[in-house]
């Protein structure tokens, strides 16, 4: 059985929620696996992160290097291509770092690559069967991954349920000396924080959130009128911001704001996992979409199959009396 590694994302000394998810996924591949966590960084934060990882994994490999103080995908790929043994299975979160680092690593390791895996189905010989989604979440596929030469898998955050077992007491090994040259042709400069907008959607109890179904900039007013009638705030999904119809500060999702409303009205939003990743606190979700197959209906509490451009004005009128 191939050795299994998990790349741990951490910030401020705390391991990310995805660390426990990778541990759960590794057990799905091989219930008896002794999984090794790889934790890279520099200084005290790294030590704290290694302690956190040791509660989830039997072994922890620590790589302490000033070049790793910020996890630049190019630098981390170079390190991993030096230290991950050939033929291994490496699990990486499918976040903006994993998407940056992992595809190229699979080439450098001469390993198979499966991206954005949402479930692990079975392992038979060197064939690992996993589940992915295509067409913006509208179709599921079984994928057979040939792991004979190893594999790099990125796993969708939130898709693997961490096991509520006892904490492990893993051993942390300092492997920093195994790293070779980490010079790369891409240099991290700084992180520019997202701008605050005129309205803080993260504080709103009720959100009227619009997506592609709004069709035109001129129709944004229809959502604003509904929000006003309800005492709610208007938020949106990514395409609305890309089209510059609303400010970036109104975007809900992993690349926008994380919101915790009591009630969330998803109006003409298909419900990509990136969008749903920005909705926390289990709100009451109402989805209105003219496409009965929109993925949003799988997560909503109440679904209404209608064109929002007809539904919203009618709802506003009824509420306003």
């Amino acid at each position: 059985m191939a050795q299994i590694f998990a790349y741990i994302t951490h910030k401020g000394g705390a391991v990310d929620d995805t660390a426990a998810e990778l541990a759960a996924a590794a057990q799905k591949i091989d219930a008896a696996a002794q999984v090794t966590a790889i934790v890279v960084g520099a200084g005290a934060d790294l030590d704290a992160a290694c302690q956190g990882a040791a509660k989830l994994f039997a072994q922890v490999w620590k790589f302490d290097n000033a070049a790793l103080a910020y996890p630049n995908g190019e630098v981390v790929r170079k390190l991993l291509s030096q230290v991950v043994p050939a033929g291994s299975i490496l699990l990486v979160p499918h976040d903006t770092f994993g998407m940056d680092m992992a595809p190229g690593l699979s080439i450098k390791l001469d390993a198979a690559y499966a991206a954005d895996v949402v479930a692990i189905e079975s392992l038979s010989g060197t064939e690992l069967k996993v589940v992915r989604q295509e067409f913006a979440g509208m179709a599921h596929t079984h994928i057979a991954v040939d792991i004979a030469k190893g594999a790099v898998l990125t796993l969708r955050p939130g898709s693997f349920q961490p096991e509520k077992g006892a904490e492990l007491a893993g051993t942390v090994s300092d492997k920093s000396g195994d790293a070779g040259d980490l010079g790369t042709k891409r240099r991290y400069l700084e992180t520019v924080e997202a701008e605050m907008g005129d309205v803080d959607i993260t504080k709103a109890d009720v959100l009227v959130s619009v997506g592609r179904g709004i069709e035109d900039q001129d129709n944004i007013g229809v959502a604003e009128e509904l929000a006003e009638a309800m005492g709610a705030v208007v938020s949106c999904s990514r395409p609305i911001v890309d089209a510059k119809w609303l400010e970036k500060s109104r975007q809900v999702g992993t690349s926008g704001k994380t919101v915790k409303p009591k009630v969330y009205l998803a109006m003409g939003i298909s419900g990509s996992f990136q969008h749903l990743g920005g909705i926390k606190g289990s709100p009451f979700i109402v989805a209105v979409n003219k496409n009965p197959k929109a993925p949003i209906f799988q997560v909503a509490d109440i679904g209404i199959v209608e064109n929002i451009l007809e539904f919203m004005p009618a709802l506003t009128e009824k509420i306003s009396g």
């Binding site: 595809p103 190229g104 009824k318």
Partner: protein, 262 residues
């Protein structure tokens, strides 16, 4: 700057309901509306803007069949200077690595300073750009939402979690995957497409590229789609039925109960 943009013809998920064939071998492709992958369209627009600023040329390339040519032509109508179609039966059934290997060969035939891809396409894997860069041994950055051109390097922004932006300096030549929202892609009218209708688009097969037939296609693929399927979902949403009026009345009742309406 000589820029190559890799594009793909895909079913437009904003325009189509995707349904799976009963035998699970594919989605139902009859009557699907196809278009250029949305992310690729932003990549082409960005390439055109860079060329207009610093000079050079923009070439669009796709791996596909003769129908994919319409996508190249559309991007040329936007302002790309050249198109290249990579078509060969041997390419069919390639996994991401296979596609990257084909593109690597076409990069080697030119003298490009910059290769752009969309951040992802219809299969959502977001993999080809990173693989191509690794094969070329060029630096790579994904999810790019800002590019400032320089002499031997670019200053780029990557979109990361929370809408924050990770700024990097990256040496040329490099591969970048482009995120939506980086620019506002220009509109392409039917007249624009007519203007480029007669421009010849060269087609290269595996042999023209020096790609070994067994390095691509299903035989080389280590990642294979077994089937499409409809997963067993939880209960999902309670779907409100009836007339619009009845749905609205029921919804208002529910919203009042859940604190969404006073």
């Amino acid at each position: 700057m000589e820029i190559l943009v890799c594009v793909k013809r895909v079913p437009d998920t904003a325009e189509n309901e995707i349904a799976i064939k009963s035998d699970g071998t594919d989605i139902q492709r009859d009557d699907l509306v196809y278009s250029v992958n949305e992310w690729d369209n932003y990549a082409v627009e960005e390439a055109i803007q860079i060329r207009d600023k610093v000079g050079g040329s923009v070439t669009v390339v796709t791996v596909g069949d003769s129908e994919a040519e319409e996508v190249l032509r559309r991007q040329m109508a936007m302002g790309a200077d050249n198109g290249i179609l990579l078509a060969d039966d041997a390419f069919e059934g390639s996994d991401g690595r296979g596609i990257a290997a084909i593109l690597k060969a076409v990069v080697a035939k030119g003298k490009y300073d910059l290769v752009l891809t969309g951040a992802q396409a219809d299969d959502g894997a977001a993999q080809v750009g990173g693989m191509l860069a690794a094969m070329l041994d060029w630096p790579y950055a994904s999810l790019v939402n800002k590019i400032d051109t320089g002499d031997k390097s670019l200053k780029i922004g990557r979109e990361i979690e929370g809408g924050n932006q990770e700024m990097n300096e990256i040496d040329l030549p490099c591969v970048l995957s482009i995120q939506t929202g980086i620019n506002e892609p220009r509109y392409v009218g039917i007249r624009g497409i007519r203007k480029v209708a007669s421009i010849e688009i060269p087609t290269y097969a595996a042999a023209d590229l020096g790609v070994a037939a067994d390095a691509v296609g299903p035989a080389a693929a280590r990642v294979k789609r077994v089937d499409y399927f409809t997963p067993e979902m939880g209960a999902g949403a309670e779907i409100l039925e009836g007339s619009m009026e009845e749905k609205i009345d029921k919804l208002i009742e529910l919203l009042k109960a859940k604190g969404g309406l006073k």
